[in-house]
Structure formats: C-alpha cells, structure tokens
Amino acid sequence: MVRPVTTVQVGVRRYNHAMDGPPAAWVRGAASGDQVAWGRLIERYNNLVWSVARSFRLNVHDATDVTQTTWLRLVEHLDGIKEPDSIGSWLATTTRNECLALLRRQGRQGVPLDAVGEVADVRAAPGEALLTRERDAELWSALNRMPERCRRLLRILASDPPPSYQEVGAVLDMAVGSIGPTRARCLEKLRQNMATSARSNDPRSSQ
C-alpha cells in the first residue's frame, strides 16, 4: 500500500517527508559526496540560515553573502562535524558568527543596515487576498517595531520549517528552557504593537 505523502513547501521546491532521514544521515551522506543528501540539508536548513542572517538586520546582499559563506563553511568542515544530529544548531551558530564577523569587518562605516519592513508595501504580495495582504503587511511592520531581542527571536522562530529550540538557543545564547516564556512575552508585545497600529492607522477605528 502506498503511504500518503505529505509535502511541505520550502522555497520553490517540494520535498517528501516519507523520504526524510535524520539530519545525521544527510551530514554523513554529504561528507561522502552524496549530492542528494546535501540537497536535503539545504532544503531543510537554508531558510533557517537566511532567517538568522536577516535577524541581524543585514541587507539582502550581505545576508546572501552570509548564507553562502555558511554553506561553504559546512563544506569546509563536513568531515569534522562532531554532532551531526545537531547540524541545525551548528549551522545556526555558524551563521551568527558570520554575521558578527561581517559587522566587525564593516565597522561603523559599513553598509547601512537594512530598514526592512518599516515601509511594508502591501502591493508586494499580488497573489494574496487583500485582507490577508494587509494583515501580513501589518504583522511585518509590527515585527520590525519590536525591541531588538524580541524582533530577533520572532524572526528566527518565523523560519520555515519552524526551528527547534536548540537551534534558536544556539543563535541567541539562550537556555532552551527560557525560550518558551520569552516567546510568549514577545508574541504578546507583537499583539500590542498590532493593536496600537490598528488604532493609530485605521480611520475606521474611531467609529
């Protein structure tokens, strides 16, 4: 009997959960030159790497460099990964270190950091229904008005597929046990940001 197959959208590709192996198997496969295993690692973690880079407010160009460098770093160290089961945490930590190195190199006069989302353009999402589009734009703007630590945590948690708390903790230097409560507090702030912007921006709110 054929198992029902669930797919998840990762970027523009789809992959099949029935084919999944543990990340450790992908790491071992990639270390022996298996391109398919390598592709699985990228499908699973590329969005996390990108999300971590963007959580540091790098602009698209710099975030792309960091994402590329992180994958090159993994190729460089494929034979020396000590805990292949935790490859997501390794990638998240490596991405963070690359972000910090880039910011250090650029110094204070580096390329300006990205002002992502401060002027979210609802027209940017032509495929969506208008109400969804407006809601997305409000959420994106509200996220970028958050205090830095909350904004970074939520941007990483919004990675797709959702990261594990180990991976999040690796980036933010947080104990895994404190991520849940911090997440709840930050989401509450996000709700308040949304409510504030609805009151101040929506001309209908006074009716």
Binding site: V60, W71, L143
Partner: protein
C-alpha cells in the same frame, strides 16, 4: 475598541491552566501568521539554494586547511576608508600564505600573493560569486612563492595551493 485577547486573559478570566492552553494555541496561530508574512515580505532568495547545491563539489578533505590568522579589517583601531584593500594571512604547516587584495573600479579584486617558504606550484582561486564557468581561477606560483590573479569577484573566496612537490593545502573561506 475591543481589547486584545491576551489582555482579557491576564485580567483574571478562566482557570489558569486552561487560559495557558488557550494562550498557547493563540500563540501558535499568531506565529503561523507571522511565518506567512515573513515568507511574503522577506522571502529566501531562490539563488541561495541554487548556490548551495553547487558548492559540495568544493569538498576537499585531502588538502589541509589553512586557518586565517590575520585580517587587516579586524585590526583593533583600523580606520575605515573608501579604500577596500584587504591584507590576509593564512597558515598551515609548513606554509604561510599572505594575500593583498585591491579592488578595481568595478569592485573586482586584483590579488597578489606570497607563499612562504617560496615554492613553485599552482594556485586555484575558488570564487563563489564568480561568473558561471569562472568560479575557479588558476594561476602559477613561481619558485619564490609569488603569484597574482585578476579579476577575482567580491564575495567568498578560498585558495587551493598545489605545490609541484608536496601536498596540497586550501585556505578557509573569506569574504572579499
């Protein structure tokens, strides 16, 4: 205007653990919405996945890895100027490789290198942002260990040194 649900609950409503549970569901829903908004407004560039798929061919376990031991951009008190010249030094026994990378007007780099001790061989410069078909640039390194390469694309770069006699080494990736 209706207060947000979170404020309702913190004002003392339902049994705490039920409230926690409801709050947990609300949080999951909000996070799912946020994930959708992020996918719309801050999407992962498809080019990064294509790039990642290509680079496994640079796996090179047989060449020893030379670590970056100095980067002029990381010197304490380094004064940033418009000049983006970069000095780098890598080391792996028995070699030290020094690079001086100077940008041209188009933002590409001229790389002048020195291997110590001086040794003749081939230097392959892997440039991940190089144009298709030009992602490896190969030059000769003379008997005094000197070499020069141009043009090298800005972005992540790694060198592989294959001495005429002796084992190959590679440098860790650095971003020019």
């Amino acid at each position: 205007m209706k207060p947000a649900t979170g404020q309702d609950e913190s004002a003392g409503g339902p049994v705490p653990h039920l409230a926690d549970h409801a709050q947990g569901n609300d949080d999951e829903m909000l996070l799912a919405e946020l994930r959708r908004a992020v996918a719309v407004f801050d999407p992962l560039p498809a080019s990064t996945a294509d790039f990642g798929l290509d680079v496994l061919s640079w796996r090179d376990p047989d060449a020893e890895l030379a670590a970056l031991v100095a980067d002029s951009r990381e010197l304490a008190g380094a004064v940033r100027s418009g000049n983006r010249e970069v000095l780098l030094r890598f080391e792996v026994a028995p070699y030290a490789i020094t690079l001086e990378a100077s940008p041209d007007a188009g933002g590409r780099f001229r790389v002048v290198g020195q291997v110590e001790p001086g040794i003749a061989g081939r230097v392959d410069i892997r440039q991940s942002d190089g144009a298709p078909g030009q992602r490896e640039l190969s030059v000769r390194c003379d008997e005094w260990g000197r070499f020069e390469a141009y043009p090298v694309a800005a972005g992540p770069v790694s060198l592989r040194l294959t001495p005429d006699k002796g084992h190959a080494v590679r440098t860790t990736w650095v971003v020019l």
